[in-house]
């Protein structure tokens, strides 16, 4: 469904992504892990063109999304994106956050958008917070609203960029639970996360990144019990030591 072919990106002299070649199949859940600064966020942001690439190609559903003339707004409307810092719109309620894009992009009438937004908020356990503003919600609740907001466009693909990294530990679980539920419904997902438990339980495949390259990829049971690349071994050893 998503095909990356020799994707390269530079920030000046810094090689942020180096020859990344991978595939994500439909209904697959891929977890991207690796040390900070390894290019995980950059990679996931190129999938909906929040970042441009300097070489190679990325195609989604058979279409080259970085091609000249590709409608970037239509692309993004079909891919849900969840940010580390939620990025909810603070001047709108939870419900309005979830209705903004569907209504303004004419995907739904107001009543339709509202009904679906309420359904989604209910799905993330926040129906009772529909009229609350973001500042009235906890971090975990904000992130769950952000997931509902992304789902409101009915995207076939969801991208998560460290969705739990900005949360207090006790709120991580509620967000992961929503993500597990989505995965269980067959959503195609790419998740940058440090939650190795989530990767182990939910991911179909794990990509391990370091210095802009995917050094190792495989099924989580293989990756966690038997990593082959020395950097991956090191990374897992460092994490289990904590």
């Amino acid at each position: 469904m998503i095909v990356l072919d020799k994707v390269n990106k530079w920030y000046g002299q810094y090689h942020a992504l180096a020859d990344v070649t991978q595939r994500v199949e439909q209904n697959e859940v891929v977890v991207v892990c690796g040390p900070s600064g390894s290019g995980k966020s950059t990679l996931i942001r190129t999938l909906n063109r929040l970042e441009e690439i300097d070489g190679g190609s990325i195609s989604i559903g058979g279409r080259d999304i970085h091609a000249r003339g590709h409608d970037v707004n239509a692309l993004r409307a079909g891919i849900g994106f969840v940010f580390q810092h939620f990025n909810l719109f603070p001047h709108l309620t939870s419900l309005e956050n979830c209705m903004l894009a569907p209504v303004n992009l004419k995907r739904a009438t107001k009543p339709e958008a509202k009904a679906y937004a309420l359904e989604l908020l209910d799905g993330v356990g926040l129906a009772h917070k529909a009229d609350a503003y973001p500042h009235e919600l906890s971090g975990g609740q904000q992130q769950r609203v952000a997931i509902a907001r992304a789902l409101a466009m009915r995207p076939p693909i969801m991208l998560f960029d460290e969705p739990t990294s900005a949360l207090d530990p006790e709120m991580v679980g509620e967000v992961l639970q929503v993500m597990r539920k989505l995965a269980g419904q067959g959503m195609t997902m790419v998740c940058v996360t440090h939650e190795m438990g989530f990767a182990r339980d939910v991911a179909d495949r794990v990509w391990f990144m370091s210095e802009g390259r995917i050094l190792e990829q495989g099924r989580p049971e293989d990756f966690f019990t038997n990593p082959t690349h020395p950097r991956a071994k090191q990374f897992l050893a460092d994490r289990s030591g904590r």
Binding site: R76, N87, P90, N104, L105
Partner: protein, 235 residues
């Protein structure tokens, strides 16, 4: 003082009208209102252009803004009145000249305020809006500007109040706005300068204070939802 007001109130209010051009307080109010009404949209446009992702839009705007801001309003008024007709051959009236000058000058200051408001928002707000498939224009209109304008509304109001006071510079090109009329009255009466200028000062005070109160009430009505993105989301 009462005698003064009794004798000259009509002159103070409308100038020589209907035997001459409309002037006095009425002209000041009309000029201010027109300047605010025109400068606000222009300032918004320039402010958005100032932070545009396209260099071809951003740079010319920056040049215009910096140029106009580096010149005293007095000079701009002079130029517009004496220099512009000499170059273009089109002679504009005093009121029109003053209005155009005020609009340009004001719009440029408003633009800087609007741009500052936009820059104050975390970058994630634009990312969040764009990630949903909203165009840049939609993101500005639906997400960025509603927050940015709320953040800078006190500065916007100050700038609008300054516009009212700036109409008094029409005096130097002989525009018969309220300061000019007050000076005329002072010349006619000759002995009551303090009284005349106290009345003038009170007049400006009422106008400016009125506008800021009005803005405050409007703001409070809209500000059911006063929340600042910067408090919530870090970059």
């Amino acid at each position: 003082m009462l005698e003064l007001i009794h004798d000259y109130w009509l002159y103070f209010l409308i100038g020589q009208y209907p035997n001459g051009p409309l002037g006095g307080l009425t002209l000041t109010v009309l000029l201010s209102a027109a300047a605010l009404a025109l400068a606000m949209p222009l300032g918004l446009l320039l402010g958005v252009a100032r932070v545009s992702p396209w260099r071809a839009v951003r740079w010319p705007t920056a040049v215009l803004v910096q140029l106009v801001r580096a010149v005293p309003l007095l000079l701009v008024v002079f130029w517009a009145y004496f220099f512009l007709p000499a170059v273009t051959g089109v002679k504009t009236g005093q009121a029109t000249t003053m209005l155009m000058t005020l609009v340009l000058f004001d719009a440029v200051y408003l633009a800087e305020i609007v741009a500052a408001g936009i820059r104050s928002l975390p970058k994630g707000q634009l990312d969040g809006a764009r990630s949903l498939g909203l165009s840049y224009g939609q993101a500005l209109r639906l997400v960025i500007l509603p927050q940015a304008l709320r953040h800078v509304s006190p500065s916007l109001v100050s700038q609008l109040v300054a516009t009212i006071k700036a109409t008094s510079l029409g005096y130097i090109i002989g525009l018969s706005e309220v300061s000019f009329i007050a000076t005329q009255v002072n010349t006619l009466v000759f002995t009551k300068a303090v009284e005349v200028y106290i009345v003038l000062a009170l007049t400006y005070f009422v106008l400016c204070f009125g506008l800021s109160r009005l803005a405050f009430l409007l703001e409070r009505r809209m500000n059911r939802r006063t929340v600042h993105a910067t408090k919530l989301n870090s970059r």
